[in-house]
Amino acid sequence: MSTVAQPRTFASPLAGRHAQLRSIGSSLAAVILALILGGALMAIAGGDPISGYRAMIDGVFGTPYGMGQALILAAPLTIIGLGLALAFKGRVYNIGAEGQFLMGALGAGAVAIVVPIHAGALLVLLAILAGILAGVFWGGIVGVLRARFGVNEVITSLLLTYIAGFIFSWSIRDPFHAPGVSGLQGKAVPENTIFPTFTSLYVHPGVFAAIALVPIVAYLMARTPFGFRVRMLGLNADAAEVAGVPRGRMVVWLMVVSGGLAGLAGAIQIFGVADRLDPSISAGYGFTAIVVALLGRLRAFGVLLAALFFAVLQSGGQAMSVNEDLPYAIVLAIEGTFVVFLLIADRLARR
């Protein structure tokens, strides 16, 4: 996370070439080691590594439906990840994206259910706006607390995530409970607000929105005064302040933007995937997005790649666990292993 200036080494061109080959070689070794360890885990669980990996790839790339599922999973990770990349770049550690996501989902769902507008498109737009605002609000609290009072944003955003969870839980148990259901389930949103699916991949518009946001955020980060100020803040906050960057306001902005993006992701999940206010609307996307943002080295396109990597890993893992008769738990262990080795490989490739 720190951008460290490497000391210059003067060496012969051939030594440079050797160094390059060595670093590529060692990172390749790391990747292979990851595959071996993953295979070992599969074997321990009673499966066959080769067919396990085959099932993973098949599950995602074997059918258009599978590819679509991976994309649908990547969408919220991308959107939230973009916001977090921005925030982290400015050293604002928003750990509460999960809570902002939930509030966004709640806001969007509530508006869609309650507001008596019959035009589907209009209602959806209104609801998504509400979701974004909910995320903005939830993130903004954290930002203001840090900017105004210097309260550490890691702990406030984390605690607010728990609180958001309770608020969400209450709303699907009481005001928005699905009538006639004996378990915990929220009301469905109106039929005409649910996203249609496109192409044989069965993806919803949220996927396109996620992809569209990538170049926008990239541009924001690299070519706008705002992005410049964010980067300065991240490099050296004190120097940035001396240079005229309004530190407090930037902190609030970053929390607001990352919160709003997380809220947007929540709203999209409601209309694209869940179709109702549901307790399992998130599988910890807000937390996974932290890893995605960091793996993507806080760059917009990096976030997209990292999100896709995760989505393929997750989707493929699920497919594998069903087809190979492996308990789903082993997929989590394999994910953890892969992430670690990806990091190592990345580090080795960069040396």
């Binding site: 996370m1 702990i155 406030t156 309770f166 209450w170």
Partner: protein, 321 residues
């Protein structure tokens, strides 16, 4: 709503006992995390280390019948994961946050898998409860006994937490650890092996996390379930920040949280439970709200940032951070 039932003198005492129980696993892990963070490493793998310690201690106690072996096994696994974290973050210098989260993923997966696999046939396996140690005078008083009559694991973890606190704050070695976290370059320039200190700190952190998991499972629940730690590791990390990286405040914060957590159940029941007009989610949120409010007020009051300067940044010899 009969408040006397909840915080009247008799109730308050049993409440304190319940709060202590709830707080202990988190407190132990939080003090360990404090050591790691003071040395400059942000260990987000705490939840995974606690969970692994919980599972291993349960497994070992179940098969050997000895809780001592179980607790030691739990600590051992914690140390192992601490070493993994140290290898990744200190030796290989890869991104600390990701390393930690990856460890949590891995631990959650492996413990869930092994638990289901090894205990497939049996109906909810349990282990023996540890006997309470009866304290001479106080332990005989009717309600007070629930506070003071705890089992040996409770006392040992309390002692270890205090011991680590003293080591960190009062010894020369602790000073070295803290220096490494504030300015590794300066420490390096006076011939302190930064990497070795950080390794040690992470091993201690892992050990205490494993111990925290063991306290939860062997000392309190007597059973294991997938994800039995249920996010306590994350609360512990939050408490380190809450406690401004000082163990005594961290311990106080853990107790505050545990107390509020135990309280909210009583308040729920008294406010009518199933017939309550106040949604019970509000009470459930109480510990988190309380912690948040105290955190905000304390920060405004103290007006200082206590975070170790080099937290989260890998140390490279000879290069400015």
């Amino acid at each position: 709503m009969d408040w006397n039932e909840v915080i009247g003198p008799a109730a308050a005492v049993t409440l304190a006992g319940a709060g202590l129980q709830s707080a202990m696993p988190i407190a132990v892990a939080a003090v360990g995390e404090c050591v790691a963070e003071r040395s400059g490493v942000l260990n987000l793998g705490l939840e995974g280390m606690m969970l692994s310690g919980a599972f291993t201690s349960f497994l070992a106690t179940y098969h050997t019948g000895s809780p001592v072996v179980g607790v030691l096994a739990g600590i051992g696994v914690g140390i192992l994961l601490g070493a993994v974290m140290a290898f990744l973050s200190v030796t290989l210098k890869t991104e600390q946050i990701i390393n930690g989260i990856a460890i949590v993923l891995f631990a959650q997966g492996i413990t869930a898998f092994l638990f289901d696999d090894l205990f497939k046939g049996s109906q909810r396996p349990t282990i023996e409860r540890l006997p309470d140690i009866k304290i001479p005078v106080l332990g005989s008083i009717d309600r007070v006994d629930s506070i003071v009559n705890q089992n040996w694991l409770f006392w040992i973890s309390l002692a270890i937490s205090i011991g680590v606190w003293l080591m960190l704050e009062r010894t020369r070695f602790g000073l070295t650890i803290r220096a490494v976290g504030e300015s590794p370059q300066a420490a390096d320039s006076v011939a302190v092996d930064v990497a070795r200190i950080r390794w040690f700190a992470l091993l201690v952190c892992g050990a205490m996390a494993g111990l925290g998991g063991a306290v939860l499972v062997v000392g309190q629940l007597n059973l294991f379930d997938t994800n039995v730690t249920a996010g306590r590791g994350w609360i512990a990390i939050a408490l380190v920040i809450f406690g401004r990286w000082k163990p005594p405040i961290i311990l106080a914060g853990a107790f505050l949280f545990g107390f509020a957590d135990a309280l909210q159940f009583r308040v729920q029941a008294v406010s009518g439970g199933i017939n309550s007009s106040v949604p019970y989610e509000f009470f459930q949120a109480l510990p988190y709200l309380v912690t948040l409010i105290v955190m905000v007020t304390a920060t405004i009051w103290a007006r200082r940032d206590a975070q170790p300067a080099a937290l989260g940044i890998p140390f490279r010899k000879g290069v400015g951070s």
